[in-house]
């Protein structure tokens, strides 16, 4: 039994990674978006390091959130269109496992690259050097939460043609705890405080999301695709 579940997880993980590799251009767009919006901030606010510095933790987190949100829309869309989602649902395994595989793949192609690129944006927005490690740590955990929660919204709106805007309306309110503790981790690091505490809460959120979100996603996919 458990082997079959693992196969569902790794199978969909590998499949989605391969698909993302074949469509590299598409997978890179959240990253480019992340960098692009970072250039807008000095243009819109001020190029002075002194004015960018206090805003940097919050802005980096807001942009990471938006970049993840942009990419979640397509999480189940192509599978829904070509019918492979139907197959996934009627397969005898627990639906939560392939779902978790897909979301993990999504994190590996969006959340992880965002985390790795974030030091560049940190430099661009003159983030103090003490903030870099907390930023990367919080982004790594936080984007995982964002992918999981965003996938619930993506599953609910999968059958709608113009689901993108609706998806953001559904999901952004649920994102708020993540952004609070994410930017607080960075800020605590800059202020020389103990940034492990907010990071630990982010970790707890991720653990909860890993446990609950796949079930919600599976339920949502069943509901929406049955009609």
């Amino acid at each position: 039994m458990s082997n079959a579940h693992n196969a569902g997880f790794t199978g969909y993980l590998q499949r989605d990674l391969l698909l993302a590799y074949r469509r590299r251009g598409e997978a890179a767009s959240p990253l480019i978006f992340f960098l692009l919006v970072a250039t807008l901030v000095p243009l819109g606010v001020s190029p002075e390091a002194g004015r960018l510095e206090p805003l940097a933790p919050g802005i980096i987190w807001v942009m990471a959130l938006l970049a993840t949100l942009l990419s979640t829309e397509g999480l189940f869309a192509s599978d829904y269109q070509d019918g492979s989602l139907e197959q996934m649902i009627i397969a005898p395994q627990l639906l939560a496992m392939p779902v978790l595989g897909k979301v993990t793949a999504h994190w590996l192609v969006t959340g992880l690259p965002l985390t790795l690129v974030s030091p560049i944006i940190g430099i661009m927005l003159s983030l103090p050097s003490d903030g870099f490690i907390p930023m990367m740590a919080s982004l790594a955990l936080g984007t995982g939460c964002l992918s999981l929660v965003g996938a619930v919204g993506a599953a609910l709106t999968v059958s709608l043609r113009k689901g993108g805007l609706l998806l953001s309306l559904l999901v952004v309110p649920l994102y708020m705890p993540v952004i609070i503790f994410g930017s607080a981790t960075v800020q605590a690091g800059i202020d020389g405080l103990n940034w492990f505490a907010p990071l630990a809460i982010l970790g707890a959120m991720l653990a909860t999301a890993v446990a609950l979100c796949p079930l919600a996603i599976a339920g949502a996919l069943r509901l929406v695709s049955s009609n």
């Binding site: 709106t157 059958s159 559904l170 309110p173 649920l174 708020m176 705890p177 609070i180 509901l223």
Partner: protein, 257 residues
Amino acid sequence: MGSGRDWTWFHRLGSPRWFYETTGRWLPLLWAVTLALLVVGLVWGLLYAPQDAKQGNSFRIIYLHVPVSFLALAGYYIMAIAGAVGLIWKMKLSYMVMKSAAPLGAALTFLALFTGAVWGKPTWGTYWVWDARITSMLILLFLYLGVLALQYAFHSQDTGNKASAMLALVGTVNIPIIYKSVDWWYTLHQPATIKLTSAPSMHPDMFKPLLVMILAMYCFYALVLILNTRVEILQRERKTGWVRDLARQADTGPDNQ
């Protein structure tokens, strides 16, 4: 109730017709109680309650703000529970209740924010403060709007019901987390000059009208929820015989014999 496990009441509860007819009998009483409580509570609170030592007369907004906020939050749980009952027991009626609760809750959340803002101006000198409770209320409004938007996004009403019930459930799990996070965030950033925590003890003369208003809002909520659900029932059951009989009785058209 002959045997110990008599579930007929449960299934009867799920019957739209039974709901429509039973609530129809109780509605006049509920109307009377709601309107009476609202009028008594408002007049008592606005004109007879003593004024607050620090806030003066502006504190009278509490008689609207607090009851409305209570119901705005409780309404989300009522909506989510109705949705969950629909998902689990596939009960048509509970989807109708959920659908009626969404716009009602959104309107009450808006009112809570509005009365809070108007109260804020004379008390703290500004309409908007990023206080923990206000921020949580704003997020609650967005959660309601999400449920409403999802409900109407689908062509099939059935899918819309199921999807928004699911979203309401996800939101319910999240609300405590959101509230705790926002609370923590606020203590981190709390400006020292603004203290919003209200007085721990209230004078009984001030408290009694508040209690009346809270009771009035609960009745109001029940009343409007029932009224909206009855409309839902009429629209969904329009093909059935008993609704057609109702329409025939109410019909005052030209060629009705």
